[in-house]
Amino acid sequence: MKKFVNDPKQFVPEMLRGIALANPDTLTYVPEYNLIMRSDAPREDKVSIVQGSGSGHEPAHVMIVGKGMLDAACPGDVFAAPPMDYVYETAKRLASPKGVLLLVNNYTGDRMAFDMGKEMAEAEGIDVRILMIDDDVAVKDSTYTIGRRGVAGNFFVIKAVGAASEQGADMDELVRIGEKVNSVTRTMGVALTACTPPAKGSPLFELGEDEMELGVGIHGEPGRERRKLVSADEIVDELLEAVVTDLPFSSGDRVALMINGLGGTPISELYILFGRAHDQLAEKGITVARSYVNEYCTSLDMAGASVTLVKLDDEIEGLLAAPAEAAIRVF
């Protein structure tokens, strides 16, 4: 295992501690519950925005706590939803008179933990709402599944809801905005390698030197289909087609385009994918109004990428453009 790691069981706590040490003025860390929160939260005049999920998706969500983004993140262990207790304790600590909004990617474990945590918090009179995110087009909503997964598109829900809450929006308004953004956001991903969870110490699955896995989620779980590895252009075309036809996006639309790296792919390659996606969208008459090329929601060290499109209207575009700060300081 080619990783910087001490005791794999301490992987998440040591990471969280590092984040807190790097942001002493703005973040507070509560080790008992894996909680990273803004030091100035909860605020009387603001709904607290919280996202939790398994760890291993960094910078999501523990590194995007900050003004205009999340008020707190409550992660579980690598690829495991947090225990419901953590959710409950987080809701208690973030309780604001305007309420606590829990953003949850749609996975069985997360759903259950957040539902149960919410019930426990409500029993103590805290106003808690849950907003499910399910942007992944690789999973069709059928009797076979519990519905689409939430993947990298959750960034846009966080950003929009984070901005609106900063502007004073109340809970109903935030839920309306979040659901709207989620409803116009679509993502599809591909893996070139499997990732290696620190506690497992070896790759989750084996991919041949000339293979790729289409339609992966963000937990290193295998995807929809294994295929021969093809060129960057061909891969983008396929991902984009799946995304575009799903909503569908059509000529005349203004969109945000995100090329999200899954952790092991250098940003140089992401820009190659971006250029092609941009061209293909232009050909379809779709205008890229906002561009996002970086790692937003990863699967540890997985080489791979996902393509996300968000259909913009004036409200969404304004919220995405609003200022924000995050725990990951690049400069």
Binding site: K9, G54, G76, D77, V78, F79, A80, A81, P82, P83, M84, D85, Y86, Y107, T108, G109, M112, A113, M116, A138, V139, T143, Y144, T145, I146, R149, P197, A199, K200, L204, F205, G217, H219, G220, E221, P222, G223, R224
Partner: protein
């Protein structure tokens, strides 16, 4: 049929089996899942073992509920709520009786399964641990009705669990992370189902060892 001592033996064996099989259970989950099942289970039951002496053991049912609370507050992922619910429901079914009959144990297993179904929005046939747990409850009821002794009953349960776990191999996952792979989930056993089978076998053996003393 059994009291606090027997329940403790069973729970301790479950916990020890979870800790001992961390890697095996994780590898099973890695095939079409995300590989953390063994880790989650081991971390949770480690906590149970760590706090063993402080658990309220005033009655078997109370004991199981306390174990359920430790599990659901310390295990993340899908398994925390699922296994936590199972222990809580089983404990609630036993109430505060000091001695529990075979019927009561069967009812507790049944309640655990129903709890999981409700919590997981799942059922038999979805390729989850329910595909072992429900046959287990059925078989236990049969053995109780037939008046089998503990040895015979446990052997029967071991066989049932192993067979039921193996049978998940041919199923398509309809719940949990494995379901995202659709048709590809066929061909490998469900991690939760197999874990349960291994646990039942270990309980069977532990019971034999204790009986021999």
């Amino acid at each position: 049929m059994s009291g606090q001592q027997e329940v403790e033996l069973v729970v301790r064996t479950i916990a020890q089996t979870a800790v001992d099989n961390e890697k095996y259970f994780g590898d099973l989950d890695a095939v079409v899942g995300d590989g953390d099942f063994g880790y989650s289970l081991a971390r949770g039951f480690e906590k149970v073992l760590e706090g063993w002496d402080d658990l309220d053991r005033s009655a078997p049912g109370t004991f199981l509920k306390k174990v359920g609370i430790v599990i659901s507050s310390r295990i993340g992922g899908t398994s925390g709520p699922i296994w936590g619910t199972a222990f809580l429901r089983a404990g609630a079914t036993l109430g505060d009786a000091q001695e529990v009959t075979g019927e009561q144990v069967a009812a507790a297993l049944r309640a655990a399964a129903e709890g999981i179904k409700a919590r997981g929005n799942s059922d038999v046939g979805d390729k989850t641990l329910l595909d072992v747990l429900v046959p287990l409850a059925d078989r236990l009821e049969q053995e109780v009705q037939a008046g089998s002794d503990a040895r015979t009953t446990l052997e029967a349960l071991s066989t049932t669990a192993r067979e039921a776990a193996e049978a998940t191999k041919d199923m398509i996952a309809k719940r949990g992370r494995a379901s995202y792979t659709g048709e590809r989930s066929r061909g490998s056993v469900d991690a939760g189902a197999m874990a349960l089978a291994v646990i039942v076998e270990q309980v069977d053996q532990a019971w034999q060892r204790e009986a021999l003393r």
